[in-house]
Amino acid sequence: MKTLKNIGLIICFIGFTIFTASIFTGTNKVSQETFDSWASQKVKSEFFIEKAQKEIVGKELSAYQLSSKIKNIAKASNEHYKSQKEIAWDKIIWLKWNKTSKDFIFPLARASATGWVSQNQGLFFWLTFGLAIIGGLIAFGADYKLLGPAGIKNNGIFQHSATNRGIIGIGAFAFFVIFYVLLYFFPNYLINPILSVNPIKNWMNGNESDQWFLYGFMYCSVMTVFAVRMFIKYRHNNYQILRTAVVLFFQIAFAFIIPEILVAFNKPWFDFKNAWPLNYTFFFDYNLNNLIDSGNLGIFMLVWGIILTLIIVPVMVYFYGKRWYCSWVCGCGGLAETLGDPYRQLSSKSLFSWKIERWLIHGVLVFATFMTVLTLYTYFAEIESWKELAFGISAYDIQSSYGFLIGSIFSGVIGTGFYPILGNRVWCRFGCPLAAYMGLVQRFKSRFRITTNGGQCISCGNCSTYCEQGIDVRAYAQKGENIVRSSCVGCGVCSAVCPRGVLKLENGPEDGRINPTEVLLGNDVDLLKLMNEK
């Protein structure tokens, strides 16, 4: 079995290696036709077009060469026009490190890819995704025997390099961070990986794959493989099995398949479960216009999105706690609960972290709300979003800084990239504005709590250790007090790892939900009365 597991790991590793190595191979050959159609959409500078025509068209270039040539020519073009007496501002090419590559260079690089991968996309898919998925399934499947009889088997977690910030963990951290940086800001270097999923995109709605389709497909396959790991690891625990199955279903159906089908029918790409303010672009002018222009379905989407945030989310949190979303429906939560599960013990449980958490997450909620209010104001006041509102800042500036700082850096690069260092819920714990919103409801008006079972706690600390949200569960349990915390996402793992059956996630009457105690159940009845009722 051990050998089988190693074979699986090797196969998986080969898939990943090919996937990663492909970034450094492959060439681009820009045809005249491709160049013309790209240039006509993106550039007004004749200087640029003339120079690029000579240096780029028809030449075989690596992704790096192509990108740096475009950047250099654009810079030269800008200098050229800026040195003129009267500056033709429309001919200046706007260059910014986090935008130029993905918005300007990527479309050309994507359209001009040549080489072995672009001609053998199907085979390449099997060599990368195919091997990684099959290998991963074999490796985790072997755990069915290797872990021994069903039960909590966290053996060796803190002694293994991958799960205790060792060299493998740091390697994974670097891999995730670099991947996210490329994905968000430099997709022009991910052309071959993007091509690997092109046949699937073609099959689904006839379009060409881009970096977001690659991400979506990776997301679903990683979640599937790690969901299998969860099914095996927690095969004695129906809560975990059901929760994992449901969150996987929502990811694949609602975040991946349905939006692609919508696009196939010329409808807007829409994720029905993605609620504002996590879905921070929902109230952006382009999105509102797009939905309004998309007929009845578009209007339905608009109304649905508003009802989801204003009614469904708080009502569901009242009855079931925010877990209904965070660990049963949400895509970010889904990844955290599958790919992130091996890292859950790394979240900090200190009071200090809790303080940081409260400032950050509520700060993001305020930021998101402020941005949205401003956006809606400009929308209804019919002010162009790029127009200055005050202090030289426009609504667009605020939107794009939110998108960059929160949407990309915080939720992606840090939120997922830092799994192997800070635990698997970095984004959900410190950043997600929707989690902050639901947290407020959960803390002050909800039927959900984690019940502490009388005086049975032995302060062992398994619950706190395995709380991905960094809640010091034990601090409550050892006092005989229920756990009512805004950040709890109801993953149920504290209850699962408890060796004495002390914790139970449940929904019940609000009365007595928060029950601070002085003396625990099991002691002298008179003393209990005296201490707890004063």
Partner: protein
């Protein structure tokens, strides 16, 4: 300001300190030679198994003690001079107190076996035992086999620990079935099976004769008394129970027996000296309880109670209904009320076991009055509050069975077995109980 000195930073001493602080402004010092900070002894096993780091076993962050003005002193107490209200420490320092709380816990039993102090012979109680285990049994190359002597809770935990690192284990149990002095036969057999299913070499009804050393003074093998069989091993775990850790009290004026003798107020015979937790021995046992209770929960309760007395509200130690819990490898165990290993005269029993052999309940009740006396539950979690209330209100066994759904504390979506349990009960008792539906108002009714 009155200076309260507590010897021992385990659950009893720390609970006492915390509650004294809540109730008063007294000066508090906790002395321990084991560790600087309080940790959960019951969690030591998880450190070896890699479920946790030692850091994670500390219930309070390190700043907690300063913030609550609880002074921590790392020292070993050699003796107590109660006439001068002073402690003599191992570095010959004299340390004064106004009130003294002895909360030094237990130490593993050793019964004078030849070789019991060899290198590689360990207990599983102190942090130092964990360090020794890490030294002598880091993996199955260094430790080709370990032998555990003594079939109690610590024994099975040590077996699970070693098993988690794939160290082959032979488990010597004196009784003819695991822990059957406490567990009824059905449960005991269930745990025997759990041990064997985990590939642990369980030997029932055998005693240790001697531990043999190799040339360097390390454990080489053990010999079984009954059969004379010699088993080669590198580590021997002695887990034949614990006894109060009170050698340093013996020469003082404080009266001791097996433990430090205390009255209902946890006072010793000496003024201003108290004892709580594993090391305290009740002069007259309380109800059905043993005079020495080496259990986490009772230590905590004594700490809660004594703090009242120390802070001027003299309170007797009157523990409520008995409860306890443990985990036998993958099988969780809880008990509420009393289920003796053998039924008493007035008692009748009801036992149900799931067909997979990993879940069971055993209910004890009065034959004549039908009053519920206690329950053992395995693999099914139950609500402490429910049983505490049932015991206080002296409900009948039928009431308990009818309301099992309210007692259930398993995670959501777990398979429930109430119907099956009740129909078995009905068949055996010629009753016709029907399961009541789960009722939140009953579960959460706190009146």
């Amino acid at each position: 300001m009155e200076h309260i000195v507590i010897i021992g930073n385990g659950i009893s001493g720390v609970t006492a300190a915390r509650h004294i602080r809540k109730l008063s402004d007294k000066k508090i010092t906790i002395i321990s030679s084991e560790t600087e900070h309080f940790f959960s002894r019951t969690a030591l096993m998880y450190v070896y198994m890699g479920h946790m780091k030692f850091e994670n076993t500390k219930p309070y962050e390190d700043w907690f003690w300063d913030k609550n003005r609880i002074a921590l002193k790392k020292a070993l107490v050699k003796s107590i001079d109660s006439n001068n209200k002073q402690l003599l420490l191992s570095n010959d320092e004299r340390f004064s107190y106004d009130k003294l709380i002895i909360a030094t816990g237990s130490k593993p039993n050793k019964f004078g076996w030849p070789g019991q102090d060899l290198k590689g012979v360990i207990g599983m109680y102190h942090k130092q035992d964990l360090e020794n285990l890490e030294k002598y049994a880091p993996n199955n190359k260094e430790c080709k086999r370990a032998v555990i002597v003594g079939g109690g809770l610590i024994g099975i935990e040590l077996a699970e620990m070693l098993h988690s690192r794939n160290v082959p284990v032979t488990f010597l149990v004196r009784e003819d079935s695991f822990w059957n002095g406490v567990l009824p036969q059905e449960e005991s057999e269930m745990i025997n099976k759990e041990i064997i299913d985990n590939h642990i070499d369980l030997r029932l009804g055998v005693n240790l004769k001697e531990i043999k050393a190799d040339a360097s003074g390390k454990v080489k093998s053990i010999v079984i008394a009954e059969t004379g069989e010699e088993i080669e091993c590198n580590v021997v775990g002695l887990t034949a129970g614990v006894s109060p850790n009170i050698n340093f009290v013996k020469d003082s004026a404080i009266e001791t027996n097996r433990g430090v003798l205390v009255n209902r107020f946890l006072e010793t015979n000496t003024k201003d000296v108290y004892a709580i937790g594993d090391c305290a021995e009740q002069k007259v046992a309380i109800d059905q309880r043993r005079p020495i209770e080496a259990v986490w929960y009772t230590g905590r309760m004594m700490g809660e109670t004594l703090a009242q007395t120390i802070c001027g509200k003299k309170t007797a130690y009157k523990p409520g209904h008995w409860f306890n819990s443990a985990k036998f490898i993958d099988i969780e165990y809880q008990t509420y009320g009393w289920v003796w290993a053998k039924p008493r005269e007035n008692e009748a029993r009801f036992f149900w076991q799931h067909k997979d052999g990993k879940k069971a309940i055993h209910v004890n009740f009065d034959k004549n009055t039908r009053e519920f006396i206690g329950i053992n539950t395995f693999g099914i979690r139950m609500r402490h509050e429910f049983f505490d209330k049932v015991l206080t209100e002296k409900k009948e066994v039928e009431y308990v069975l009818k309301n099992l759904a309210n007692a259930n504390f398993d995670p959501e979506f777990y398979k429930q077995h109430e119907q099956e349990i009740i129909s078995k009960f009905n068949k055996e008792n010629n009753t016709s109980i029907k399961a009541e539906k789960k009722s939140w108002s009953l579960i959460f009714n706190r009146s």
